[in-house]
Amino acid sequence: MTDARKLKSDKLSEADAIERAKLGDPLAFEALYNLHKRRVYSLCLRMTANTAAAEDLTQEAFLQLFRKIGTFRGESAFSTWLHRMAVNVVLMQLRKKNLPVVPIDETLETEEDAPKKELGGLDLNLAGSIDRMQLQRVIEALPPGYRTIFVLHDVEGYEHNEIADMVGCSIGNSKSQLHKARMKLRELLKTSRAEKAAKP
């Protein structure tokens, strides 16, 4: 997932940096930050669609992590621990703003958030015709619960078992929410396209 996992040398450096950070070594903290900043920032940006907010949340996620680094015992991967913290920070922020946070639970889904079962009359194939800006816009329109799972899986590349661990849901729930997120995005993309096509 992260560079630290892909390369053995990076993984070794991360372990050393963690031990040194526990002793207060400023270079070790900076090394850990540089190793993971991009992934955390990407996650925050995709969830908030706002650069300033994403930076604030990135900062907060790392601060919370570094304050607790003395308690890290290596039971899970460091990156998983960090990203779990980042997800929590983002969701808490969204709750503070009173944005409706769809719980990661199938039974509490609202009718409005749920993807429509049929897109009758819309005959617009998406394959090969989605651009990044368009996709980013509709991701922003997703309910936060769907957005979290979609961003973690399809954008950031986490597996369902990792997402379940980070978010605190079951693997089945993660798969279900992902499917609904994709269905909702499909609906939003097609609706947007139909509206554009209908304009004179």
């Binding site: 050393d16 394959a127 399809d154 995005l185």
Partner: protein, 211 residues
């Protein structure tokens, strides 16, 4: 299989893992084929969104300031710095051995035994009693090592002897530090590194490539 049943099974089905009847339905139903193609397109395009660059430098600056203010980031003491930076917890003896060997050779050239007409190192102990009090007695293992070095390379014996004594003195200091501060992780790391240094001296002595 109906379209509703097919869609219900979609969350659990991945491309290489569809059941036979799902594949059959997909072949026969253009609407579901279009649905799957759309969902795959969304998923694939999403991956392109991953790289959105780095946050601005102010993020790290703010983190550093906050952690320093809270005392979580702190300038390590000289002892901690030595244990963390000079003696990293993992290092390969493969590249350090030749470097350490060069240092030992240099130490052997610089050190002079006390004797008439020979230079004495500045601040060096001037009496045998002072020397003895500063350096711990060599252990039986140390004596054996020194004897084996003396057999292969008599010229290096004094250097190894002096270095072993220095390392043992370092271990003694580190042990005292841990005894005084049993909960101090830095002191424990310091001691661990001291033992590693001693191990390194032993490895060097056993290394056949040394003269």
């Amino acid at each position: 299989m109906t379209c509703a049943e097919f869609e219900q099974a979609l969350p659990d089905a991945s491309e290489g893992n569809r059941e036979f009847e799902h594949e059959q339905h997909l072949r026969s139903c253009s609407a579901c084929r279009s649905l799957v193609a759309d969902l795959n397109a969304i998923s694939q395009q999403a991956r392109a969104l991953q790289d959105c660059g780095d946050p601005s430098p102010r993020v790290w600056n703010s983190i550093e300031i906050a952690l320093t203010r809270e005392g979580i980031i702190r300038q390590p003491s000289r002892g901690e710095l030595a244990s963390v930076h000079r003696f990293p917890s993992r290092w390969s003896s493969a590249w350090l051995l030749p470097v350490a060997a060069a240092l030992l050779v240099t130490a052997g050239v610089v050190r002079y035994e006390r004797g008439p007409g020979q230079r004495v190192m500045p601040n060096a102990p001037t009496t045998t009693a002072q020397v003895a009090s500063m350096r711990p007695e060599p252990s039986p293992d140390d004596r054996q090592l020194i004897e084996s070095v003396a057999l292969r390379s008599p010229a290096m014996k004094a250097s190894y002897e002096a270095n072993l004594q220095d390392v043992n003195s370092y271990i003694r200091d580190a042990e005292q530090s841990v005894k005084n501060n049993p909960n101090d992780e830095a002191a424990q790391q310091y001691l661990s590194n001291a033992y590693e240094q001693r191990e390194m001296v032993y490895e060097m002595a056993e290394e056949r490539s040394l003269p």
